[in-house]
Symmetry: C2
Subunit: 205 residues, 2 copies
DNA sequence: CACTCCCCTATGCTAATGAATAAGGGATCA
DNA sequence: TGATCCCTTATTCATTAGCATAGGGGAGTG
């Protein structure tokens, strides 16, 4: 790549913008434009784009999945759009990739990794942490779900009530609740339904 | 196919057995063996099998998914095993097919359709109602989910609470509950989590 | 042995879900 | 103009889910 890549970085956290922009701008010699919400991002893309790469925070004003992501992808076509996430739960990642995002970047990746991931996407590849991409069961094990937690998750995915799962596993209902709470924490789920969906996305069931 | 196909029909409802056996036996000239539970089915398969096709009710004594289904498939290999369902919710169908079942037959299919489906499977094909097989969105529309119900289902699949969905859709929480109840009935789901999984399986989200 | 991790249980509480019933407004169609 | 369907809201109620805190027992490891 001979030309200086032009990037658009959209994130409502100023600290994140500054950090990432410094990293990609100063250390990787890229031309980084910044903005703080989805509306501005779309304006930048249509008026000054397409950019070689658009990085979108997935929690920022105006950002919706998949609508505004798709709008950005369409506006920036054929150049790639990637998601910059704090902690993107796997289902968000899946939906973003399904919608056509070319990568999932995490804000707490090692700086070198982040730069390399951006270069990868600029080169036309995809990038997503292995745990995100089309869940092989290794991802699940890496997530350290204990056998009992798996049992409970399976029950949840069948739409069973805690009481029912407790009967099946021959334990008390409180125990099921405990496992559910811990596995939800591990999966980044906000409740049983979310946990079930994430488990399904990771092919844990 | 020159030889008379040998079938094993396992269902704990005598009426169903009689009906289906008469249909396949008398009208389609097949040699149908009957039994009433999973234990007997496995015994028949190992002692007198393999059959050209094994038909298993998915709600009968001893039947478990995926364990005993897999046992039957293994015992009857390489000949096919199919599920005979009353009203198999899509997630059951998916899991059965994933486990290696070669078809999903419904007890309330038109008799000709049932016979044809059996012949199809005997010929080495697969059979499942279109609504079951890897959900194209047509299946969803066929299931008549109204736009609002789809909105609610999407919210559920994101792990959102009713209150949250209500805010997003700008309606009252009771309205969300109503939509949830009706869509759950349509999908055959027992609760929100189950509905979310079924919706996911049908690619409605 | 002390430490950690997994598994299980108990108590107590608040919030969310689910179900039932009743009913009004708007759109479409015969 | 009924009939039907979708969307909406209200009210009430029982059940479930979810959270926090506190603890015991077992298995494995430095």
């Amino acid at each position: 790549m001979t030309r200086t890549p032009r990037l658009l970085l959209a994130d409502d956290h100023e600290l994140v913008r500054a950090t990432v922009a410094a990293l990609l701008g100063a250390k990787a010699s890229m031309d980084v434009t910044e903005c703080a919400d989805m509306h501005a991002a779309l304006r930048f893309i249509t008026e000054e784009g397409p950019y070689d790469l658009v990085l979108l925070d997935f929690t920022m004003p105006g950002m919706t999945l998949p609508d505004s992501l798709e709008a950005a992808i369409k506006a920036n076509a054929p150049h790639p759009v990637a998601i910059l996430s704090g902690t993107a739960p796997p289902d968000i990642a899946r939906r973003a990739m399904n919608a056509g995002a070319r990568g999932i970047l995490s804000k707490d990746m090692a700086p070198e990794t982040l730069v390399n991931a951006v270069r990868l996407i600029l080169a036309g590849e995809q990038y997503a942490p292995p745990a995100y991409l089309n869940g092989d069961r290794e991802a699940g094990r890496a997530m350290q779900l204990t056998p009992r937690e798996m049992d409970v998750l399976r029950g949840i995915c069948d739409g069973k009530a805690n009481k029912e799962i407790a009967r099946d596993l021959d334990v008390q209902e409180v125990t099921v609740k405990l496992h559910l709470k811990t596995l939800s924490r591990k999966l980044g789920a906000r409740n049983r339904t979310h946990a079930a969906m994430i488990g399904r996305d990771l092919n844990l069931v």
